[in-house]
């Protein structure tokens, strides 16, 4: 069965959601991933939206933004932003999704600017809730287009902290997060148009976990700005099932987010 790269990304994202988990859902593909997980393997997952919403059912219609009217109808709770991010700050949210313009080998994400902070070459929109999700969720899933200029050795600006960098006090990874005072979390997975990476918590480094059907380790390396490390069980990404594709296409029949 044919599928688009973004459909595969939605499937990979949905597979990160375990049944019963509380998931901080971002815009676009994560919205579809939440709906897909909910309707397949994780019927009891709960979605939290930074506008101040909790729902345990996907919205009945395609959403352009999480504040759209269909996302509020049927919500379990409509409240304030700090009430829901507060739940995450208190450690109650298992998984959060974010995207980014740039990422580096340690999972640090940049959505703020390209170039110098004082005189940026490209000013990006900024954090939104991204830095909060990266700081506070128990596990972080990142979704990005895979291009060499986006997967860099080091990002120009760390908007959303991943595993930091090795420095005189110690290595990157979980140890770095502890050093700077982050209470938990860190990137669990990076899902791109070409591949899926996991992370080594001891070093903070991204590990190529799988390359998408039609891609290859070589192609992934070509489009990645750091020398790849492979996960021991690195393999081809398991493609979407017909059932998964059917559900995605029900949710986004015109391919607004997936084409």
């Amino acid at each position: 069965m044919e599928y688009t790269p973004r459909e595969l990304m939605v499937v990979c994202a949905a597979r990160q959601i375990r049944d019963g988990e509380r998931v901080f859902v971002g815009m676009r593909l994560p919205l579809l991933a939440f709906a897909l997980a909910k309707r397949t393997h994780a019927p009891n997952c709960v979605g939290i939206f930074e506008t101040g919403l909790i729902r345990d059912t996907p919205a009945r219609e395609l959403l352009y933004t999480m504040g759209d009217a269909p996302n509020i109808c049927g919500a379990l709770w409509a409240t304030s932003t700090i009430n829901v991010i507060g739940l995450m700050a208190a450690g109650e949210i298992e998984l959060g999704f974010i995207g980014g313009a740039e990422i580096d080998r340690y999972g640090n994400l940049n959505t703020s600017l390209i170039g110098d902070w004082q005189q940026p070459r490209v000013r990006l929109p900024g954090s939104g809730g991204g830095a909060d999700i990266a700081s506070l969720a128990q596990r972080l899933a990142i979704i990005m287009p895979h291009e060499r200029h986006r997967l860099r050795e080091r990002v120009d600006f760390v908007t959303s902290p991943g595993y930091g960098y090795p420095n005189e006090q110690g290595p990157a990874g979980v140890a770095w997060r502890q050093r700077v005072g982050l209470p938990r979390g860190g990137p669990a997975v990076l899902i791109t148009t070409l591949a899926v990476f996991t992370f080594d918590p001891a070093t903070g480094e991204a590990l190529l976990q799988s390359y998408h059907p039609g891609s290859s380790i070589e192609q992934v390396q070509e489009e990645t700005g750091w020398p790849l490390r492979l996960a021991p069980d690195c393999a081809e990404t398991v493609p979407p099932t017909p059932e998964e594709l059917r559900v995605i296409r029900e949710c986004d029949p015109h391919g607004v987010w997936t084409s």
């Binding site: 930074e50 409240t79 932003t81 700050a89 600017l113 940026p120 939104g128 760390v158 005072g181």
Partner: protein
């Protein structure tokens, strides 16, 4: 006491040059575009804009040259991507240079919540290790006096004026807001003064029939503006949907400074009032965005 004013008069009186203005506080819905457009028409200058994500209203105010500083978590076009005016201002100082104090959605909410509690700051562990924490000079890094752990201290932020778009208000500014609330209440409580822009003006009795639905104390409200469709192209739950296409057109047309100026002439400067804007949108477009299916809240009895 009626605080009803025209938008023209409300902005003239309560949004002076140099003011720190909070708006777009519910994130994507209920963005007070009508108020923003009037600010542009009146040529206000040197404003500080405070908000979480703001969607394209911040971009328009920046492009029109009204803004000196941004205290926000995100500036762009939520369904489309980058904000072209924001880019031009930051990258090329066009039409003027602006300064950004970057927040996250949580820290901008905490900053306003701190002000609403009379607390000088609220400590958080969010953003630790982020360049946001290092580059926003209003933040302080500190150790917790309880256990020595690292903390980021987010100082209280008090807008001069918060502009809220709501579903309904009485003439005194007692206002009902529903849907996702973003940081609306925090921004109302933190502000020195509040402008309420309402889809409908209702009697005091409608409001007091449901005091839990009220967004904040009306004594802070300096002006109430009756402006139906005043949040278009953003959504107002129970009144109209988000006009996604409008955001797309804005994104496409504002890639260049000239394109932005044409857009601004067409949709803001060339129109005197919101009534003209609504007429320009046309009944077909309005109809497509209107409520198709009413969904009323279950009855609630406050009796005794």
């Amino acid at each position: 006491m009626s605080k009803l004013l025209s938008m023209t008069e409300a902005i003239r009186r309560y949004v002076p040059d140099g003011a720190a203005v909070a708006l777009g506080l519910a994130l994507e819905p209920c963005i007070p575009f009508a108020a923003g457009h009037e600010i542009i028409r009146q040529g206000r200058r040197d404003l500080t804009l405070i908000g979480p994500i703001s969607d394209i209203l911040f971009d328009q105010l920046i492009g029109a040259g009204c803004v000196a500083k941004i205290q926000a978590a995100w500036v762009g076009n939520v369904s489309e991507g980058l904000g072209h005016c924001y880019r031009r201002a930051t990258e090329q100082a066009q039409p003027r240079p602006i300064v950004t104090e970057d927040h996250s959605n949580f820290t901008i909410g905490l900053a306003l919540r701190a002000a609403s509690l009379g607390a000088p700051y609220i400590p958080t562990r969010s953003l630790l290790g982020s360049d946001l924490a290092r580059k926003n000079s209003t933040f302080l890094h500190a150790s917790s006096p309880f256990d020595g752990s690292p903390l980021l201290l987010v100082p209280a932020l008090q807008p001069d004026v918060t502009i809220l778009h709501v579903q309904r208000s009485d003439e005194d500014g007692n206002a009902h807001l529903w849907g996702s609330l973003g940081i609306c209440q925090e921004a109302m409580l933190a502000a020195r003064q509040v402008i309420i822009v309402a889809e409908e003006i209702v009697s005091r009795e409608v409001i007091t029939s449901d005091p839990n639905r009220v967004i904040g104390p009306s004594y802070k409200v300096c002006a109430v503006v009756h402006e139906p469709w005043g949040a278009h192209p953003s959504a107002v739950q129970g009144y109209y949907d988000r006009d996604h296409q409008f955001y797309h057109e804005y994104h496409t047309r504002t890639r260049t400074a000239e394109g932005f100026q044409q857009w601004l002439d067409e949709w803001v400067l060339g129109l005197k009032t919101r009534q003209e804007y609504i007429a320009k949108l046309g009944s077909a477009r309005l109809g497509a965005l209107s409520v198709k299916e009413h969904r009323y809240a279950a009855p609630v009895d406050y009796g005794y």
